[in-house]
């Protein structure tokens, strides 16, 4: 398995963080964004999903589901972006990604969950590939679009009375960490018309202005292909 490592010098160095990531994975993107927000440096280890590197025995030991991202922190291995976020939140509490207020806290957990359970798993590349084989690329694309639109409609309703500059107010939290990469994918891959989701669109514009978000972009990663 090819490793391209890169030390990222951000505000605070942390003991031993290693992130297994693929530049185009929106799930890995969430964690890259979160690590940047918390000022945590990490070693980037690329897993080329297009070449099937996720099926190597070494990677399977890290995550038997063969997904990125996987975070390794000393001898703790955490896979799944939602689990990683909650782990990071407790281990490295600087720049909290969950607000203290119970209502907003719950909103952040809900929004992230809608994305990680009800949207992304239904349109991830391996899923789309299956649908393409079974029903052709046009139907598969329509399916992806409908999953995203259904989820975005729910998120728009969930957040519209609470959003400010960001999803749940004036500060970036977990909802934004999940939302911004998802919107980017929605635009790139599914050509979603974001004018239907003005609250989400506004949140996305706010996130795009953050250096922590820019640093997490797929094209900024060591394994990005031109």
């Amino acid at each position: 398995m090819e490793h391209k490592s890169q030390q990222r010098d951000l505000a605070t160095s942390s003991p031993n963080l290693v992130l297994y990531s693929y530049w185009q994975s929106s799930c890995a993107w969430r964690v890259r964004f979160a690590l940047n927000l918390k000022g945590l440096s990490y070693e980037y280890k690329a897993v080329n999903l297009a070449k099937g590197e996720q099926f190597s025995p070494e990677f399977e030991r890290l995550n038997p589901l063969h997904f990125v991202p996987v975070l390794v922190d000393g001898d703790v291995v955490v896979s799944d972006s939602y689990a990683i976020l909650l782990y990071l939140e407790e281990k490295y509490p600087q720049k909290a990604l969950l607000p203290d207020d119970p209502q907003r806290r719950a909103l952040n957990l809900q929004a992230a969950s809608i994305i990680s359970s009800s949207i992304q798993p239904l349109h991830m590349l391996s899923m789309l590939k299956y649908f393409e084989e079974k029903m052709g690329p046009d139907e598969a694309l329509l399916w992806g679009q409908s999953c995203v639109e259904k989820g975005f409609l729910a998120l728009e309703r969930l957040l519209k009375d609470f959003a400010g500059r960001y999803a749940t107010g004036e500060a970036v939290f977990m909802a934004d960490v999940f939302l911004a990469p998802q919107i980017a994918v929605a635009l790139m891959r599914f050509k979603i018309d974001m004018s239907k989701f003005p609250t989400l669109g506004r949140i996305y514009e706010s996130c795009k202005g953050l250096p922590e978000f820019v640093g997490s972009l797929p094209q900024s990663q060591p394994d990005a292909e031109q």
Partner: protein, 224 residues
């Protein structure tokens, strides 16, 4: 020490008997000794789109928990809320590594298994591929997830998923094992740990009382 907290107003849970997401929350409420008003939402009949329900939960999902003025949907968010507000029978271990194992197991179920067996997806498979494809599809994703769970938990399990006490992972597992075995006939031979856990959950009243067959809206003809 966790104090016993009681709600000021009676809790309400919008639930569907067969919803495994609702099942997770029902078990948690039972474990914490919290009584609640069960408000059935018939997903098959589309009741989640009734104006009254939509007003509370614009997403049209179950479960939804109402605690006085506080409304929260999504099983994960509900469980985290319950655990913070009513700390008796904590759902998470103190040790951060064990906590992370619980989060991972919960998310394997909630992102990699359950969403692929919900009504909307199955309907799509039925219409666009074939009705015969539904069951193999569900079984494939369950087996995939179960294989991952066996590996994740094998060095951490005790009497239950992550040790000798019930935690978050057990709620997600119990709610998923039930339909896997009873509805989708998944062959559990490759999953000895999960099989053992399923048997252990069958012994616990808090779990059994949360199962689909024991709800107020369970159809009288149904056992699963």
């Amino acid at each position: 020490m966790a104090t016993i907290e009681e709600p000021k107003n009676k809790l309400k849970l919008y639930s569907y008997w067969r919803s495994s997401c609702s099942c997770r929350v029902r078990i948690a409420l039972n474990l914490k000794g919290l009584s609640y008003e069960y408000i059935p939402v018939n997903l098959v009949k589309g009741e989640q789109f009734n104006p009254e329900i939509l007003k509370l939960n614009p997403l049209g999902y179950v479960p939804v928990l109402v605690d006085g003025d506080f409304v929260v949907s999504d099983s994960f968010a509900i469980l985290m809320y319950l655990d913070e507000k009513y700390p008796q029978h904590p759902l998470l271990p103190r040790d951060l590594h064990k906590k992370a194992i619980n989060y991972q197991a919960a998310n394997i179920v909630s992102s990699s298994i359950q969403p692929l067996q919900n009504l909307a997806v199955l309907k799509f498979i039925e219409e666009k591929v074939s009705p015969d494809e539904k069951l193999p599809w569900v079984q494939y994703h369950i087996r995939n997830g179960f294989a991952a769970l066996e590996k994740l938990l094998k060095d951490h399990a005790g009497r239950y998923a992550t040790g000798d006490e019930i935690f978050l992972a057990d709620l997600f597992l119990a709610a998923q094992l039930h339909p896997a075995i009873k509805r989708f006939n998944v062959d559990m031979t490759p999953f000895p740990l999960l099989s053992r856990l399923h048997e252990a959950y069958n012994e616990l009243p808090a779990f059994q009382n949360g199962m689909p067959e024991n709800q107020p809206d369970t159809p009288s003809s149904s056992t699963t």
